[in-house]
Symmetry: C2
Subunit: 333 residues, 2 copies
DNA sequence: GTGAAAGCGCTAACAA
DNA sequence: TTGTTAGCGCTTTCAC
């Protein structure tokens, strides 16, 4: 293994100077810098990040921490963060918080000290990890959270979705999902969206009934399928369905197709998130497209600030990104 | 920051003993171990991985290196690897090789020395990184590769897909994709699949014409849409379409839907990969479901072996995982 | 502008 | 079984 010392010797300087040159510090003579760079190239030198990290206390790495790691939503989100971090010259470690718990359900997270910060989503129970690092939470919605938050526009987006259904002539709007978040709690954003939907329906003067306006199913594609089946089998009579996630909505489309229901003629369907799949479904899916790129940028910006100014006692901040209503076939009529 | 020394002092032992206890080495008295663990817990000790890594030369981290980081296929693959690595007590760093190149297209990958190994897919141009680490390549298909490979059953799976179409009565089978891999080369597996498809068609005695049996479009969902359109607009007359990826196939379904074509009545469609989306499309998608779980397990096993036995000169090995043909609506007739 | 020395937190050898 | 010593490769004082 070729170390800094080897490079230094090759360039006829000390390790100190070589280090400075490699990092482009301008106190070093251009000539010296050049010599060092050439030596590094010649020897195929690659810096030992562990050593650097040990010395500086920074690793240039951020952990993306999530409970469930599966599904189009989480993975596409994770990929955007990886891209944004790479763009900033940082690296992303991806971690499922479920592997952080031992058999007794205790948090075993010694391995965390390595990364400079954490971007967490649905990772509340990894509190040790979060509290011992600069952390940003995604889709959290906790008021008075000790962490910076970056959220989707769940309220505004949901209300826009409901109004869209209304404008399309829907007068009996159903909500797909459920009130009580399941144990695994992919639920914070879900709850906010359900509440906002209910609120907006009432504002629009629509008949709305806590009991009968909800198709209560699990928050998943299969849950959506089930909801679609129920719409038909139980003759629920909604002319518009709001799904608080695109996964749910795509499931609904599939469930309705199973029963030969025509969308949007028999019932209009709108989702939330704006994942790519909705562009290709049959029918294509109207949705509230969340600006994930901005979410990634905002979260990384907040996090790097905290990392670089560890002593600054800035109050936790919440960023809510924008959205765009995309009308596609599932509500076009 | 609380270090090993602090823990040791609290437990009334030396750092060495504390270290051994924390790592569960059995030379340490149970009583001592217990004391150390208690001290660590009490002080909220978290190990500094950088220091450990510097000392041992291992970081417990593997880099998942991919050119394009987007799309259901790559992200779901990445997630499986993360899960498998976590299961093994390791961590996954995710890296897009495109951020590895500087403006001049030179590889700048100093940051790599940190991880113990690389799992690469479509990452051939990151050769410096690959060659300087234990590496496993996914979907590579290069003969005489210097790296261990883990591949999908592209040949066998493709032939099964073609035979399936044949058994369903298809006699004019079209292939979607293209022969010449595009510059970005997500193409190795594509080429293998196209070739195998051609071969199997000929074996079955089907009329097959290099020029007219191929719908040449980009390897993407949009490419699939285009292929669907062409099938209808150019009256290509295929009664069965083989798509070498599910993304392509889902695009085809959408493109055919745009033209009001009935699948599978007018034309049967089969994909390749087995991503979840195909369970929910309309119609649902028949596919060759690759055993991604085994891919992840095999790759991680090969890699950890190389990592733990750096001096063993084992010849590069290729693992081809299994598949299952899943018949769904798009070919059910 | 460059160098010498110290030390980040940990673990492997060796000694007791 | 436990402790002592040394050093992994790097960057940061502090001298010059």
């Amino acid at each position: 293994m070729v170390t800094l010392k080897d490079v230094a010797k090759e360039a006829g300087v000390t390790a100190t100077t070589a280090s400075r040159a490699l990092r482009g510090m301008d106190m070093v003579t251009p000539k010296t810098t050049h010599r060092v760079l050439a030596a590094a190239e010649k020897l195929g030198y690659r810096m030992n990040i562990s050593a650097q990290s040990l010395r500086t206390g920074k690793s240039g790495t951020v952990t993306f921490l999530t409970a469930g790691i599966d599904g189009a939503y989480f993975s596409s989100l994770a990929m955007r963060f990886a891209a944004e971090l790479n763009r900033q010259g940082m690296h992303m470690l991806i971690e499922s918080s479920k592997y952080l718990l031992d058999d007794q359900g205790n948090e075993r997270d010694m391995s965390y000290l390595f990364s400079d910060g954490i971007i967490g989503i649905n990772a509340k129970h990894a509190s040790k990890a979060l509290s011992s690092h600069p952390s940003v939470l995604l889709e959290d919605y906790t008021l008075d959270s000790p962490y910076d938050q970056v959220n989707a526009p769940s309220q505004a987006g949901t209300r826009a979705a409901i109004r869209h259904l209304y404008e399309k002539g829907c007068r009996r709007i159903g909500l797909v999902g459920h009130d009580i978040p399941p144990e695994s709690n992919p639920g914070a954003s879900q709850q906010v969206r359900m509440l906002a939907a209910r609120h907006e329906c009432q504002q629009l003067g629509l008949e709305f009934d806590d009991e009968h306006s909800l198709i209560s199913v699990p928050w998943s594609r299969d849950g959506g399928v089930e909801a679609g089946h129920r719409w038909a089998d139980d003759r629920l009579g909604f002319d518009g369905l709001f799904c608080p996630s695109d996964g749910l909505a795509l499931g609904v489309l599939r469930g309705l197709a199973d029963r030969g229901v025509a969308v949007p003629q028999d019932v209009a369907v709108i989702g939330f998130d704006g994942i790519e799949d909705g562009e290709y479904s049959v029918p294509t899916l109207s949705t509230i497209a969340v600006d994930f790129t901005s979410m990634a940028q905002a979260a990384v910006a907040l996090l790097t600030h905290r990392i670089n100014h560890p002593d600054e006692e800035r109050y936790p901040q919440t960023v809510t990104v924008g959205y765009r209503l995309i009308e596609r076939e599932s509500t076009r009529r």
